[in-house]
Symmetry: C2
Subunit: 324 residues, 2 copies
Amino acid sequence: MTAAPLDEDGLIARFFAPIAGPGGLGLRDDAAVIAPPAGHDLVVTVDALVAGGHFFADDPPAGIALKALAVNLSDLAAKGADPLGFTLALALPAGWTADWMGCFARGLGEAAAAHGCPLLGGDTVRAGGPLTLSITAFGAVPAGRMVPRTGAGPGDRLYVSGTIGDAALGLKLRLAGRGAPEGQAHLLDRYLHPRPRLALRAALRRHASGAMDVSDGFVGDLRKMMRASGVAATVDLGAVPLSEAARRFIRDDASGFEVAVTGGDDYEILASVPDAEARAFEAASAAAGVPVAEVGRVGEGEGVAFRGRDGGAVDFARGAFSHF
Amino acid sequence: MTAAPLDEDGLIARFFAPIAGPGGLGLRDDAAVIAPPAGHDLVVTVDALVAGGHFFADDPPAGIALKALAVNLSDLAAKGADPLGFTLALALPAGWTADWMGCFARGLGEAAAAHGCPLLGGDTVRAGGPLTLSITAFGAVPAGRMVPRTGAGPGDRLYVSGTIGDAALGLKLRLAGRGAPEGQAHLLDRYLHPRPRLALRAALRRHASGAMDVSDGFVGDLRKMMRASGVAATVDLGAVPLSEAARRFIRDDASGFEVAVTGGDDYEILASVPDAEARAFEAASAAAGVPVAEVGRVGEGEGVAFRGRDGGAVDFARGAFSHF
């Protein structure tokens, strides 16, 4: 495999201009233009991913592209923001190929179209280290209405979307190199293909006091949000939603439960919802097609008390998966 | 030197939260908020820099930070945009130290304050390759008024700000490892410390039909802008403004002239200005304290004809310095 003989302009014209949105000006200017809706704030989030840390260098390139965009859209979803577009900075390893780039760009274009979040611009450098992608994504919320991480208040209920731990268990399977046992392919898929919960954004905007996306592990992210909000919480681990595949994994290997609740890459939403809004939030989530489960309560003070499935107190040594 | 024993949250709290702007929410949320001025478009630009490509790994960290921000502000300046803020993605090499990071963050904070462009958010990953920085910068222009690269029209005059070639000659001195001869320290400084021409943005917005920043070499960037605008140009190389230090370099080494006009890292502004606006543009630039020089004319057709200092036609084999 030899590096494709393309300069940066050729690379942009061939692979990225075809997938750019109108604000990207054909990727032929120095900058892109976003016209934010009147009366809206712009929400900006940035997430960088590196081969060997956030994905495997030999993952399918379209999957890498999807993941890089999805982890950023997950942040926008948690903030209640409508996606407007994104920029991409790509640091290429030695020996990248036009084939790889074609698949990557196609995957990125499909993910962007599927989520209504067009590519607006970017930059590409040959870094010679591991493939590193950095996406900055933009969204809009009505002015002053971004759902903050700091908004949880005493008495609020804590909800989590979807199921927790699938991706972390999928990564465990992947690292063990055994492939997926019967009924557990779902876990590998959740690791490779995060699905940002954009469908939940309106319900969060209307009913949640606070939210963040669960990307570095449920236990650690929950502690982080309670700390940021200056409150305490009691969490019922028995109420943490698990997929059928995760349950099956844990039935065979009890250590899987801790992996599930502390491991990363869920890209689900953790939200605090005032008591008076709880039913409306549940109804709006159901109407949006996103399952949510109540997992605990916010209280005064600090720290998170986890109650195990047997009712006893549980502590976690590790708390959060850190990509860093 | 050992890597500093900090996790990502610790690193953010210690080094970056102190230099963040209010929209960065103390870097404790998943996202930042920008409230763009009513009736304005948001201009977005992204530039990535990699050690060994855009700077030397052993450059002073504050200088690296300044350069990473400045090259993005240079794009905003060329688009006539008022800076609003920026995000940073940092891929760290093995063996980074808290000392290095402290100097880097301090330099970044000073550069951000000097240009009124606060840090809003970011992400840091340990990549283990060369240090790679990607900055996405945001600016505002009155709706529909971004100065495009594509706007040059037949009859327009071509202007360039400041002086051309200093940084490329500085890089040449640096690579030769000889230090700066008498009177040429200016060249090394221009390579290390780009000064974005933000002071010119109002003049560009009012009077220019098109503009781009000169970052990859005057000759190549001029060709790029004419191609993007679908026009031709005639350029008088004798009119290209050179600093006293560059003239001195070229007096000793005639090959320096081609390096000066084709080499990168000028971070000056190339603008096309309609004839009727030319005097007003010159006056506005002078009032802003930015020297501008008329270097040529836009015409119908395609291609750029360069007239040498002796009046004859000149062609350039290389045309543009490419970081890529």
